[in-house]
Structure formats: structure tokens, C-alpha cells
């Protein structure tokens, strides 16, 4: 080592004297690269994709505010001059003269007490996903309120037509399920949890898949061979059966279900990312980076990942759709989210159990098919926008 150093020093003096050029300060020009600009333009050119994206985003944004749309608690209330936010704060019933730990604002006693000493502002739908309506005109499942004869609508209330609670806010726009819960409220919450679950599964499985694919493709050789064989074995396990078995002895919750589905979901992207890395690792700019002494991790991150991201992004909407379908089918079979959670799969299974109540199955069918169609349309538009050979008019 010392000899090496001495040898280095032996070579002639400072050849790299600072060049006599003063570098002028340069103003940064941050902007989107033209490739990205072209892609955005191409995506915007696909009307169907853009509309689908907006509708999906709108629905998702709406569902994020489900509590303000459908809840069994008022949004704001004034009680004895005090401003209350029942929708975010859990008030004990003692506050209003009761004895329970939480207040049921739909309870006639509490309602009259608060309205006598102030007022309440309710969300447009006065049911949450778990709220059981005790004033149903007939045994659940009940059809949508608007589909019933006017005199029948309020038959469940103590004072019938004249009851002050027989109002629009207590209507069941899409009927109730077989436990007397409002279908529209369950739909809102169910849509939200489906999409959130789908997004979480898509993102986590993409991260794992990209990681494995990147390592497998970049290093090649034995790493690649072993990874590929393992994935072949792994992918040939009938995952749905295994999921059924596992979810029967692991208490299903949002997170355990996510973990179980991730166990099999990550393989989707591996092949794609691996192929991109295999192709791109021979590019000259990768060789150039290696010659500069850049570490493997940095090369993969800075030079190769952007290439693989195109393929990954193109696949994302389709993976999201597939994730939602997996969750729905598990829920449908009863092995999904814990009982009582709002879920589209459970709605479908109720529809199957109650063929006399078509609003259940029709609602479930329309929602799921609409959601998946939107995702597929968005996915197609993204795919076309990333396709360099596609010519847009």
C-alpha cells in the first residue's frame, strides 16, 4: 500500500492546475423532461382515460369524507351554549344526562334533550356503516325508501307520517341489508376501505416486487436463476386455498389480510422489472457509471430504476384492480375483513343470500364493475401514453 502511494506520488506534479475559466453562476431551470411532457399530453389526449381518472379520483375523495356524508352522529351541535363536534370527539352520554360511555345521538331521548337545549347539524345521511335502523317499516332487508308507497315509508316510526324523524336524512336511498343497516352508507365506507386496501397492497407488493426483480435482473447469474426458480414454485401454489386456510386460523384484520395477500401478490411485477434490469444493465451509461466507481445500489437506484418505473407505472392500475378483486372475493367467501366491516364482498354475498332483495346485488354489482372499469380505462390510457410508438392525433 505504501509502495503504491509512493509510486503515485512519483508521477509528475500538479497537472490539474485550476483552469483559468471562471464559472459563471447558472440559474437552475427546473422543469419536466420532454418525455414526461409528451406522456402527459398523450394521456390527456385519451378522453376516456382522463374522464375515468377524474371520476375515480372524485369518488375516492368523496369516500374519504364518508363521515361527513353518512354518520349516526351530527357534524356539529350546540348544547347549552357549548359548541360540540360529535363527529370527531367522543362525548360520554353523561354530558346529556345519560349514563353510557358513548352517546347515541339517534336515541330519541338524547335527541330531544339536545334539541331542547341547542341544535344539531346532521350529515345528509344519518346512518353510519354499522348503524342499525330501529324504525324500519318492515323486516330487513327493506327496499329503497323512494321505492315504497309514501304512507308505508314512515310506518316504522312511533307517530307514523307525522313523526318529525320521518325525513329525507333518514331515508335509505339504496335500501337496507338484512341486518337493517343502510346500504348507501356501507357502500361509501366499503368503497373507501376497498380502494385503501387495494392501494396499500399495490404499493407494498410493488415495492417488494421491484426490489426482488431489480436484484435478480441486475446481478443475473445464480442470483437470477435461484430467484426465478423460487418464484416459479411460489407462483404455482394455489394461493386462494392457502389464503382460505390461513385466514381461518389467523384473526383477519386489515393488516393481517394485507400481509397474507402480500405474500403472494409481490410476484406480479418481478418478471417485468427483472427484464428491464437485464436489458438496461448492459447499457453503456451503466458501464460508464461502473467505470466511475458508482456503487451497485446507486446504479440500480439512479440509472436502472427509472427505466423499470415506466413498466411498473403502466401496470399499477391493473394491479390495483386485481387487489380490489382479491379482497372482494375473500370478503364474499367470508374470509376477509372482520365481521361488521363495510365491504363490497359482503354486500355481494348478502345479495346472493337475499335474492328477494335485488337492490343488494344490483348495488354491489354496479359499484364493483364501475370501479374496475374505471381502473382499466385509466390503465389503458397510461399504457398508451407510455408507448413511444403510439401516435395520437
Amino acid at each position: 500500500m505504501i509502495a503504491g502511494l509512493a509510486n503515485r506520488l512519483a508521477f509528475s506534479g500538479p497537472v490539474w492546475a485550476p483552469a483559468d475559466v471562471a464559472a459563471p453562476p447558472v440559474a437552475a431551470r427546473p422543469r419536466i423532461s420532454p418525455i414526461t411532457q409528451r406522456r402527459i399530453r398523450n394521456f390527456a389526449a385519451s378522453k376516456r382515460g382522463v374522464w375515468s381518472l377524474w371520476i375515480f379520483v372524485l369518488l375516492f375523495a368523496l369516500s374519504m369524507f364518508s363521515e361527513f356524508i353518512a354518520s349516526d352522529r351530527p357534524i356539529v351541535a350546540v348544547y347549552k351554549g357549548e359548541l360540540l363536534f360529535p363527529i370527531v370527539v367522543n362525548y360520554p352520554e353523561a354530558k346529556f344526562g345519560g349514563f353510557l360511555a358513548t352517546t347515541n345521538f339517534r336515541d330519541p331521548l338524547n335527541r330531544t334533550e339536545i334539541e331542547a337545549n341547542g341544535w344539531m347539524a346532521w350529515p345528509p345521511i344519518r346512518f353510519s356503516y354499522g348503524t342499525v335502523d330501529n324504525n324500519l317499516p318492515r323486516a330487513a332487508p327493506t327496499p329503497p325508501t323512494w321505492a315504497m308507497a309514501p304512507e308505508q315509508r314512515c310506518a316504522g316510526y312511533p307517530q307514523g307520517d307525522a313523526d318529525p324523524e320521518c325525513r329525507l336524512g333518514n331515508w335509505h336511498w339504496l335500501g337496507t341489508d338484512d341486518q337493517g343497516r343502510d346500504v348507501l352508507a356501507r357502500l361509501l365506507y366499503g368503497f373507501r376501505i376497498s380502494v385503501l386496501f387495494g392501494l396499500a397492497l399495490t404499493i407494498t407488493s410493488s415495492i417488494v416486487g421491484v426490489l426482488v426483480g431489480a436484484v435478480s435482473g441486475y446481478f443475473g447469474g445464480w442470483t437470477d436463476l435461484l430467484t426465478q426458480r423460487f418464484i416459479e414454485v411460489w407462483a404455482s401454489i394455489p394461493s386462494l386455498y392457502l389464503l382460505l386456510i390461513m385466514s381461518s386460523f389467523i384473526a383477519p384484520s386489515f393488516w393481517t389480510l394485507l400481509a397474507i395477500l402480500l405474500l403472494f401478490g409481490w410476484v406480479t411485477l418481478v418478471g417485468l422489472v427483472r427484464a428491464e434490469f437485464l436489458r438496461a444493465r448492459n447499457f453503456e451509461y451503466v458501464a460508464a457509471a461502473r467505470a466511475l466507481g458508482v456503487s451497485n445500489v446507486a446504479i440500480m437506484w439512479r440509472h436502472l430504476l427509472p427505466n423499470a418505473m415506466v413498466a411498473t407505472l403502466t401496470f399499477m392500475p391493473f394491479i390495483l384492480g386485481a387487489s380490489i378483486v382479491t379482497l372482494t372475493s375473500l370478503d364474499y367467501l367470508g374470509f376477509g375483513l372482520p365481521p361488521g366491516s363495510p365491504s363490497l364482498g359482503e354486500l355481494l354475498s348478502q345479495g346472493k343470500e337475499n335474492l328477494q332483495a335485488p337492490w343488494l346485488s344490483i348495488t354491489g354489482f354496479v359499484t364493483i364493475s364501475l370501479m374496475l372499469s374505471l381502473l382499466v380505462f385509466v390503465g389503458e390510457a397510461v399504457r398508451d401514453a407510455f408507448d413511444p410508438r403510439k401516435v395520437f392525433q
Partner: protein
Amino acid sequence: MSTLLEVEDLQIGFHMDTTTIHAVRGISFSIEPGKTLALVGESGSGKSVTANSILRLLPESAEVQGTIRYKGRDLLTMGDRELRGIRGNDISMVFQEPMSSLNPLHTVEQQVSEIITTHRGLRRAAARAETLRLLDMVGLPNAETRLDDYPHQLSGGQRQRVMIAMALANEPDLLIADEPTTSLDVTVQAQILGLLQDMQRRLGMAMLFITHDLGIVRHLADTVCVMTQGEIVERGDVADVFGNPQHSYTRHLLAAEPSGAPPLADPDAPVIASTENLRVWFPIKRGVLRRTVGHIKAVDDVSLEVREGQTLGIVGESGSGKTTLGRAMLRLLPSEGRIVFMGSELSKHGWNEMRPIRKDMQIVFQDPFGSLSPRMTIGEIIAEGINVHMPALSEDERERKVSRALIEVGLEAAMMHRYPHEFSGGQRQRVAIARALVLEPRLVVLDEPTSALDMSVQAQVVDLLRMLQTRHRLTYLFISHDLRVIRALANELIVMKDGKVIEAGPAADIFANPASAYTRQLMRAALTDVLVPPPDNDVLGFDKSTAQRGPQ
């Protein structure tokens, strides 16, 4: 004699997203039967687009105006059926890239006989005999045994011969050759050009020859049209244009050949890098157990020495192992044998031990389009090595270093925020050089840094490299197949063939007095028009006197 092909006021535009790019702006030329017209220009001048427009081979996004008359018939307006009768029969084409223009899934026989059966309706046996005759004619060795070969089993030159056999199958009146030799080695290039001349003489066809290589034009063409930016700026007899160029662009082209001599070498300068019996062998594995049955000896027992501040040129045709040698010296490829760089033996270093040394040894690659990441700005690309080797530098200092490197290679500091695709090939190669130089290396491996560039840009890059070498006492390992560039830069020279060193020594000596037959052959093929006047009866088939006689 009536004209065979007449192009009048041809205009071609391409619709890109929102704008129209005018590739060809109103050019006219005509070709007489049996004559050769050369269309010369640098990349982007519109010459290939012109060639493709004649047989209406352009993509749909192209808008073509003007007239192209073949024997009085307008090719641009005729019906598809009529046009198909002309394509491959009266007018045929030879393309640049013989690998991608042959179908990899069809055998040689299938490809050639398809043309014959389509246009002449010959049956199997007759078509086979005819195919054989054609392949014999274009000089494919052992044609009979090669009929069932697939394109990948042929060499580049053989593939181009098959392409020519296909183009000549129906004895066309006009052959359009679009850079038919550009992707071939120099010796093969000479053979193919000789073949084309011979065929032209025998069949009496006219030829439209598209090229960027002035040397070829001088040998081959009767008349020449010089194209730049979609317009023909000069036309005339080859002798007139070359002897007395009128337009400034023609003069610029003619003056563009890399010239000059390398800076004087100090024979006592310390040896900065050397190899001893360097070997890069790739195992050939066969069978279920993947047993190694042999080796491809890409680099076989190469010993070399590079002295500080000097240039060692490595010359050879494709497949000679010169690029592998360069990469092995930088330890980008596993190798056997000693590599000594600045006193330390690299062959014993692992990847992590190599990292600090990489600062002192850099590489510039051939293809400036492939060697710059399209998703990073110029500044990020150049700063990448700084981040690795000088992580302590502040943001300001780093930017100053980057802009100094850019200015040094003749670019502007403000360019650091732009992306590679905004630059021309020559500018990109300057960026690649800046990326290597910003680390202040001692040894730079230049792997064909000029071969992907236009001739005039090549000369500029050669000048730049020489200027940088003298300014910073840089040591170059210059890999190239282009002897003209090598002659302008190298002090010492190594000639490689099949992984072995054929000849080594001071460059001037080898150029003046090549010892081996292979070197002599290389020099003759590459430098005919520069060093020696073309002999009357060239071994490789350049035969100007007979070519001009033409068919009567």
C-alpha cells in the same frame, strides 16, 4: 440516352406531435441508365429519407410532395399494385444494417427465392438453382452449403452479400444502396464495394448510392450531389466536385478528415499502465451439465505498456477483442494476467478496492447516445463521479467543477441543466469526455469515441482530445478501427486480430512500414484515398477503369 429516374422538387415533411419537420426541401436530380449517382451528406441531411421515398417506403406520418418519375411513370401517384411490380423488380434496395434487414427466422434460400418466385413465378427446383446462381455471383463462399443457414450464422459481410443477391435477383435497372457498407469492417467494406461495382458492370444497372463517406464516393460514383439540411447544395461530376468544390459546405466536408499528428512522445516518460499476458476468455458451455468445452479467447496473452502523457492506439476490426481489452484494463471485466496501474497491481483488487483507483482511470464510450442516461441532466451526469470520489465537496464547489469541465470541452456552463436528447452527437460526446475529465484522471480509455460521429465532428473531437492531452498530460488508450483517427492521435500502436497482438510498435513506424500482411491489408482498405492513390488493379476489387466503362 434518356433518363432512368427523375426526381423533381421533392419535398418531405414529418408530422411530429404538433410541428412539421421538413426533412427534404425541394431537391431535384436524375440518373442515367448504367450510371452511379452518389448522394452525400452527414447524418440528418435527408439523404436516407430521399432514398426511401423513391419506393414509397416512408412511414405514414411523412408527407411527400413533388414528382419521382421512373421511365416516365410517376412513382408517387401510381397504384399499389403497379408499384409492387416495380419494387424489387425494376428498382431494388440494399440497406445499411444487414442484420436487421434480413428476417432472422428464414433461411438464406427462403429469403432469396421469395423475391424470385414473387416476381418471376419460378417453381421450387428452378428457384433453388437460380438462388444458387445468384449467391455464387455475389461471391458467397460455399453457396450450396449455406442455403439452409440462418442470417445469424453468417458474418456481416456475408449477410450484406445475401442482401445484394436479393436486390439483384431480378436484374433491376436501378439499385438504391443506402449506406450499404457503413456497418462493416474496412476490409469487408472494400470487398462489398468491389462487388457492387462488378455487378453494376455486368448487369448494366444504374445505382443511387447514399453515403456519408467521401472516400467511397470518389471511387464509385460518376456524379455526386452534396446534401445538407434537406437541400442539395452542390452537384456535378465527381472529379469536378472533389477537385474544385464550389459550395462552402462541400469544402467543409472535404476538409473534415481528422488530421494532424500526435504530440511528441518522450520515450523516457514513466510507464503509467501495463499488462502482462492479459487474458479474457469466455467459456463455451455445452450439454445438460453445462460443462466447459472450450473458450472464446476475446483477449489472448496481451502485454502492453502505456507511458504517461502518450497515446497507445489499439487497432483491429470488429471482434478482434480491442474493446474487451480496454474494459478488462479498467477491471470492468474479469481477466487473468497482470494489470499494473501507477505502481499498484489491479488484478488483485476487488470491486471495493478498485473504487478509489477509478478516479484516476476513466473511459469514454463509442456511442454518445447510449452512454448518457436520458433521464439525468448534463450536470447530474457529470457530477456523478464527483459524488462518489469527492463526497465532501459543497454544492457550490461541485457546480463550479462541473461548469469548468463543460467549458473545457468546449460547451457552455449553462448547458448543465439540459437533458442529453437536446444535444447533437458531437456535443454528447463532449459531455461524455467532460464526465471522464471532471475527476482529473491520469489514464483515459477511449473506446471508439469518434466512430458514431459525423466526419466533420470527428475531426473536432480529435482536436479536442489532443488539446486536453497536452494541457493535462493525459494518457490515452485509444481504441479504434479507424486508422485515420488513430494516425492523428497515437504515439504507439497495437494491431489486434482475434484477441492476439499482430503487430506493435511506434505508430509512425507501423504506418510507414507495416510488417504483417494483415496490417498492410487493413491500411490499404482504410487509407486508400488518403495515403496512396488507388492502384489500377486493386486486389480488393476497386477497379475504377473498368467500372467507368459501363455497359453499352
